[in-house]
């Protein structure tokens, strides 16, 4: 099955970005002879020796004349495994506006570094924008390796420096590849000039990149785009709500709630384009659903699940990138806001700070945002928005601002959450600070398949900590389901809520000075990331410990006989058998059965805790 991968590239002409793209297109045979002929003619006209591959990506006359890229250009190429769309953005003029545009839909960002010059301000800026826009995968191409004699030392230097910077950003997957776009080393085929590099060539990496679990399959969201009422004899009573699924999964029979009305009903039918009857529809599919009850629904409404709704609020905190040169954003101005399929008006209540994207410095005195500037703002909308934070869902967390006088798109927004002042629930700070407590709390989060050994290791870790005088307590997933989480099942939504509650309890314990030891399958990456984010936001240490026990081993152990039942079809949604497990991409600690027995594994954990 061929899949689609969207790539955003960033870098300037000097980094050899156009040459790299030209090389990818050329070597993967996406360039046709007449296109190459045109490039050769143009190269000769400009006195270049041989075809200048960079010319393949220049589109407009002014770009060819000035040798620069003005706008986002889209390029296409395919291999038998994937179809690729490259959003190619310039590194210099209006870089932010264009890169934000190209990055908004990308699965992966390619960032170029000139091996001679190393990590520049521009490289940091590109990495920051990629993470701000929620691109899950970053690939650092250290280019022009041919000009540094293919030296491993130089590559390692750049890698170390960049990794140190990236640690400050929310990067989930970071890969470094030494290449030479000019000569083709490590672009489409592995280079023989760099035997010390053991990874794949760039194209192979892009073909194999695992992007399936980047999507949100947990929070079911269907923004209603268009209501289909044929009013024809054959479909007299047909009333379909058309839209593109923006999160999770919808199946016939599902209980759903419609926002803003809050009415609940059931899904009666899910139709694909052209009337294909579907058993389920998931993120990215354009569908039409019929509901069991006749309730008043129109464009801009949001269909979700009764126990998993987006936040509904008129007060929104967001990061905004300003994209217009003729006007500025300042407190007090009003715009049309387009969020999912909902259109309303928004006024800027406050510009909290402007972010310097080179230094990440926050200027809270800034009076306005100008073209290519990014800042955090508070908005008040005329009608409530139904949203999720951008880092959890790009479709329900993004919006654009439109100037009402000129109809131009002037701002791009990424929602952080709802603004606090509207809430009547106030956080009461205690008199005792965290520093005044005798012990330092933290959370150890064990994740892994059922039977992977989480509980055994957790019990030993708890025993050792308590013996050493450190308060510790196990929050066991199964045990909590008898009480705190007794009302939850095993659907993705319920699992998300289960994880959220356990994370909140762990946070309270850690805040109280206890080492909270969570032992929970917690199969979804997004849920664990949310647990980590909740801790980080409160300044509490959080260690994700991955029990990397292969399914065959866990199933052979089967301490509770659950696998046998799941195989027999007696347990639906069983992780590893009939429900997915998304392994952590960068756990703080990874434990495998081959690393030793329970005692040895517990000792690794204790070592890691003591380092913290």
């Amino acid at each position: 099955m061929s899949q689609l991968l969207r790539i955003a590239t960033a870098g300037s002409v000097d980094d050899g970005k156009s040459t790299l793209i030209g090389r990818l297109l050329f070597d993967s045979k996406a360039i046709f002879e007449d296109q190459l002929g045109a490039v050769e003619t143009a190269s000769v006209a400009r006195g270049h020796e041989g075809p200048d591959l960079a010319l393949l990506t220049d589109g407009l006359r002014a770009e060819r004349e000035q040798g620069i890229t003005i706008d986002v250009a889209y390029r296409y190429f395919a291999t038998p495994r994937r179809k690729f769309i490259i959003a190619d953005t310039p590194g210099h003029i209006q870089y932010t506006r264009n890169m934000v545009t190209g990055a908004s839909t990308a699965d992966v960002a390619l960032i170029l570094i000139d091996a001679r010059h190393g990590v520049l301000e521009q490289s940091r800026r590109h990495a920051f924008l990629a993470t701000l826009l929620g691109i899950p995968h970053l690939v650092l191409c250290v280019n022009k390796m041919d000009l540094v004699d293919y030296a491993q030392e130089r590559f390692e230097e750049i890698r170390t420096e960049f990794a140190a910077f990236a640690a400050k950003l929310e990067v989930t997957d970071l890969t470094f590849i030494p290449v030479s776009a000019l000569t083709g080393d490590n672009v489409v085929t592995r280079s023989s000039a760099m035997p010390w590099y053991e990874g794949p060539a760039l194209l192979r990496h892009l073909e194999e990149l695992h992007v399936a679990s980047d999507r949100n399959l947990i929070d079911s969201r269907l923004p209603v785009q268009y209501v289909i009422r044929p009013q024809q004899a054959d479909f007299h009573d047909f009333r379909g709500y058309a839209g593109t699924v923006a999160g999770g999964v919808f199946r016939p029979g599902d209980d759903v709630t419609v926002l803003p009305s809050g009415f609940s009903t059931k899904v009666s039918n899910v139709w694909g384009p052209g009337g294909e009857k579907l058993d389920e529809a998931f993120t990215g599919q354009a569908v039409t659903v019929e509901l069991a009850d006749n309730i008043d629904i129109s464009r801009g409404d949001m269909i979700c699940r009764p126990n998993n709704k987006p936040t509904s609020s008129q007060d929104v905190d967001a990061m905004i990138c300003w994209m217009n040169g003729d006007s500025t954003l300042a407190a007090g101005s009003t715009y049309t806001i387009l969020h999912t399929t909902r259109e309303t008006r928004a006024s800027i209540k406050d510009l909290e700070y402007r972010l310097d994207i080179n230094t990440l410095h926050r200027d809270d005195q800034a009076p306005e945002l100008r073209l290519n500037e990014i800042g955090r703002v508070r908005l008040r909308t005329q009608k409530p928005l139904h949203f999720d934070p951008y880092q959890r869902n790009r479709d329900t967390g993004s919006f654009i601002l439109i100037d009402e006088a000129t109809n131009s798109t002037v701002g791009a927004g990424m929602i952080l959450g709802t603004s606090q002042p509207e809430s009547n629930i106030v956080w009461h700070s205690g008199a005792v600070t965290r520093e005044q407590r005798k012990t330092k709390g933290m959370t150890l989060w064990f994740t892994g398949l059922s039977g992977s050994g989480k509980s055994s290791v957790a019990v030993e870790v708890e025993r050792r900590l308590v013996a050493s005088g450190r308060p510790a307590y196990i929050l066991d997933g199964d045990n909590l389901r008898h009480g705190l989480n007794a009302n939850l099942g095993f659907s993705p939504e319920d699992r998300a809520e289960n994880v959220r509650r356990v994370a909140e309890v762990a946070k309270l314990m850690a805040d109280a000075g206890v080492v909270a030891i969570v032992s929970l399958v917690s199969p979804y990456r997004a849920d664990r990331d949310a647990a980590r984010a909740a801790h980080v936001a409160d300044g509490l240490p959080f260690l994700e410990i991955f029990m990397d026990t292969p399914l065959e081993v866990a199933e052979a152990r089967d301490p509770k006989g659950l696998y046998a039942k799941a195989r027999a079809g007696q347990i639906p949604d069983f992780t590893g058998i009939s429900a997915p497990y998304e392994a952590p991409l960068s756990p703080d600690l990874m434990l495998r059965p081959s690393d030793g027995d329970v005692d040895a594994l517990a000792a690794f954990v204790i070592d890691r805790v003591e380092q913290q």
Binding site: Q3, L60, A212, F238, P273, G275, A286, S398, I400
Partner: protein
Amino acid sequence: MTTTYELTDLDKLEAEAVHIFREVAATIEKPALLFSGGKDSVVMLHLAVKAFWPAPVPFPVMHVDTGQNFDEVLEFRDRTVERYGLRLIVASVQDDIDAGRAVEVGGPLGPRNQLQTVSLLRGIKENQFGAVFGGARRDEEKARAKERVFSFRDEFGQWDPRNQRPELWSLYNGRHRKGENMRVFPLSNWTELDIWNYILQEEIDLPQLYYAHSRTVVERDGMLLAVNRFIEPQPGEEVYEAMVRFRTIGDATCTGCVQSTAGTRQAVVDEVAAARITERGATRADDRISEAGMEDRKKEGYF
């Protein structure tokens, strides 16, 4: 694991196009779909039909007719329009020539592709269309690679490539004043091969010209042109019978064909996958005008 919840590339492209059709129908008054009977417009119409099922397509189709079309294509156009119960509006280039609004270059039987701009803009104005769907793809041409899905045109129908609206996520800004309009390109991210793979997957009917057939052709400027009432062989030109098919179909005076034995959808997919020359490079005399030919024409209001 039961399902992987992954879409194929074609499913994704289809979902994106369906989303675009619905977005326009929901937010812009009086849209229309440009339909010539060419493969891209046929795929576009197929997607529109799927987007609004089980309701009929909620807008008319418009054909900018150069008056120099292949008869088979016009018959196909009329048959398709009738099958879907659509309203067809024809903006006739001949009318504009007769009324002196458009001037033929190269005399009678000269290429009329460029003249289409006049008739297109007139059709949009007379019918007060707020949005016009076009089948252009970004992979076709350098200037197209920089065009938005929702492309704003001012009151003169003109495109300003230096001042395009940013287009992020799947949030499309189609707002415009009366007299201005949007060109909307649901196939922006499709390539020629995607189009053919989709035609194969969906078993979409096309004019027979797209499949190999025997035809009298003449070689001119390195291209094979079909001999018919629009193309007269000149002295010294070699005329012969060949198995050919058309990769694109436009004005009969300037659309070339290629030698081919591909008589089925699958055979064409295989041929396109192995092709080493772009469809426009191979078969469109009018696109060979200059390095910036398409850019200039688009600025004036061309498709």
